[in-house]
Amino acid sequence: MTTLLFIIFAGLAIGSAIAMVSQSNPLYSAISLIGVFISLASIYVTLAAPFIAAVQVIVYAGAIMVLVIFVIMLLNVEHSAPRRRRLKFLLPMSIGMAGILLAETAFILYSVQTAENRLPGNISNVGLTHSIGEGLFTSYLLPFEVTSILLLMAIVGAMSLARRTTILSSTARVVPGAQVLAMDIVNPRAVGDMRPVETETTHEAAHLLGVDFQSDRNQED
């Protein structure tokens, strides 16, 4: 029974992986990748590691891939014709990498397995919640905390890269007269702040927005 399940889910995983690489539509690739993650989670369940399976689905299939699909939907990537190949050295390099991977697999299959056959069996508690929690907070506490700080640094870095200093383009213009602006237009740091900022004159609005009103009118004349 376990072997049958393994064959089914391993086949699904490999099929989805091939589909992911071969699809030209990025959204189909993303859906195939979700298929890979879910098949892998099913294999974890048959390996008596339910916690890892659940986390695999929640983190990879549930959180990360939603963000990927979100980005694909937002960018609305068109179904484009195959482009000219750049970076031609990648092709021989990928063949070399695949060769190394195959060699590693062969090494594991032929030397490690013959050395000592230690199957975890049903008594294994490697994938259970209790043992993982205990490991994370005792023997692996330092790597765990270092990883979390690393992730935090990555988030801060992404934020500082993505945050724009100004929202308005250099060609933005001000409508003549008094106007009401939202706070997040005036001040880019107040993201999502919709409180109104009222201005009395055109000059005041132009000054608030950092748009040169005078030169703008000259262009109109």
């Binding site: 879910i38 659940a54 929640i58 549930g62 959180a63 939603v66 979100f70 939907m73």
Partner: protein, 346 residues
Amino acid sequence: MDWNNQYIHSVVLIVAITIAFLTIMLLVAATVLAERRVLAFIQGRLGPNRVGYGGVLQPFADFIKTMMKEDLVPDQSTRFVFLLAPMIAIITAIMAIVVYPFGPTITLPFLGTFPLRIAQFDVALLYVLGVTSVGVYGIALAGWSSNNKYSLMGGLRSSAQMISYELALGLSLIGVILLSGTLDIYQIVEQQSGWYGLQWNILYQPLGFILYLIAAIAETNRVPFDLPEAETELVAGFHTEYSSIKFLLFFNAEYINMITVSMLATTLFLGGWNGPGVAQFPLLGVVYFFAKILFFLFLYIWLRGTLPRFRFDQLMNFGWKFLLPAAILNIVLTATVLFLMDWLRR
């Protein structure tokens, strides 16, 4: 009868799944009807009361009517994804029901003793969260594949909203996990029995309960968090282009999600099937379980009749700046109290 026999076990499982499925579907029909009647009552109308006694057969009439409609697939839509999206929505919605215990272990004459649940495994709670998080794809892909601006906006809104509130939802449950020390829902319910209801987790996790309830309503895209389908701005949002049986699948998925979320609230905070007299008459537990679910479903309808919709920036601010910090505070408080109690006992 030998319940450990593999074949008998399989047959029992299939029967149990069928019963659970039919129960949930009937509950969906009842909820749809109740929603229309209760909303009508709140707004001073009568609501549908012509089909059957008091309108009892109205959901079935609606079901047949909707199924008979033409099954439209919009031109220029991504056909495969368009077909896939409602399937993902309904499958993930139904999958989550598997782990809930409908009642305590009961003994029936001639049949023997068996627990009123379909599946039992260590990480049931994580399983529910995982299945719920996959459910986002149904809505997101539906919005994208329809090739419709309104649908795309609805899909984007819903994925943003569900990612944001999933965090608060998961974190609000950690207090209960800390208290009970297990992820198995059946054990969590059993731990809440006794002391005449004074061991229900809601008494020890009031903040966690409120946070969970808010996050759960947002997670199921219901009023006041129904921005993905906001009728007035988005023309029903992600399912604008869906008709006939595909629309029904989305419709059912939404109500099944409401039911599963209510089941989770019941089992984790309100003691599941616990109630007076369950120790003597175990079948009474099923009644209590469904009564508690019906309370939450009524709450949903009540909120819909009462509250206006959030604006999108309010929704995001509320989720990230209030719910998430409050959920983390709840975890810290719970952990501190547990640690101190453990320390005092020594």
